[in-house]
Symmetry: C2
Amino acid sequence: MSGKKKRQVAPDAGLSKQRVVMEAIRIADREGVHGLSMRRLAGALGAGAMSLYYYVANKEELLDAMIDIVFEEIELPPAETDWQSAMRRRAASTRQVLARHPWAISLMESRTSPGPANLRHREAVTACLRGAGFSVLMATHANWLLDSYVYGFALQEASLPFDTADELANMTEDVYLPQLPPDEFPYLNESAAALVAAGYDPAEEFIFGLGLILGALEPLRASA
Amino acid sequence: MSGKKKRQVAPDAGLSKQRVVMEAIRIADREGVHGLSMRRLAGALGAGAMSLYYYVANKEELLDAMIDIVFEEIELPPAETDWQSAMRRRAASTRQVLARHPWAISLMESRTSPGPANLRHREAVTACLRGAGFSVLMATHANWLLDSYVYGFALQEASLPFDTADELANMTEDVYLPQLPPDEFPYLNESAAALVAAGYDPAEEFIFGLGLILGALEPLRASA
DNA sequence: TCGTACAGTGTACGACGTACGGTGTACGAA
DNA sequence: TTCGTACACCGTACGTCGTACACTGTACGA
């Protein structure tokens, strides 16, 4: 199946699976998965819609390929540091990448079989944990726990309607609070007020939960 | 706007927003959001497609309404127990409900404004945490952390291609392992083997991570 | 010169969301 | 009894979607 002979062509002329998937990601980043249609994608590549089907079997396969490219962007846990720093690095990278491609999160639910980049990532993380002294069972637990946190955080962050602290303050005062009668929602009012007063940084919030989880995992490894 | 006079009708004749949304959920549960179209929904209700637009402005609003019904199904943290038990109860309920309606998770990403049931849930959780002695700031942290974990877990669980332990064993042996050359993925092979040997229960996995998080949060409250 | 594989296309079909302009029925007022 | 109005609902039509199918031109090995 592999080892196709390629005719020599100008390096960026013509289509390729790579180019198709990349452009698809660019469109999805700009307008969401909803804005990604085969015709639009083909148009952006200067091709006819049906040409795409030479490179992908169908749209599902295109989406799978897009997801896997996203996973390729995620930094693997570096080998030269302690396990906590390594986990911090890869978790932060995951959050960043998923924030850049929010559509990827909602796609994950429906795509059941992990792509190669996904597998490589899992392998590297598991290796790091096992190397740090976690048992097979405990490494599995840690994997689930950490991934749940990172994906869940990304999911929540993606559904936030604002990107900056200013926008947050505006949104909270103009849209959010009017929906929250203080007698019915005293605690949400309290915390909304505190958020507006103190400012709010998702990155900090992320670090907090991550640190707490890592700290709680630490005593569960059998330090060699 | 409110206070419409309803003509008296046989109680289950004719449509209603309630009936429309409920049937939509039933279809989505059975066949995923992908299988939910206005025409199919109308057909299932014995109505014409355009009739639905009397009750919902458009499909987006329908999806919003569906999500909020899902949130209504989630148990609020009970008031009469300690905060950890309360959080366990509502987290377990959330996981169950999201497992019952997997489509809801992928919808959450794109729906930016929380519905009333969602708000009531947040209020109750925040009240519980504040009552347990967490500061405003710490309650916010705990909220993000717990929700991230629960949603992320549900997201991962939804993308598992199996429902029972037997299916897991079969899937792992027949589909998963053949994709994993042992020299390239030694650790994933190791953990896959361990999983098949020991059996695997998502509910247990969920409890583990949740317990770890709750335990780590415990010392962060100012016990009154 | 020719057969074959590659790379890409045009047309067409059924399904989708929904704008628009209906229709019948029940009710309050006259 | 009549009639205007609001309600609940629907048929048709438009543009867009994914993609099956049959097609074309080009480059290469023989």
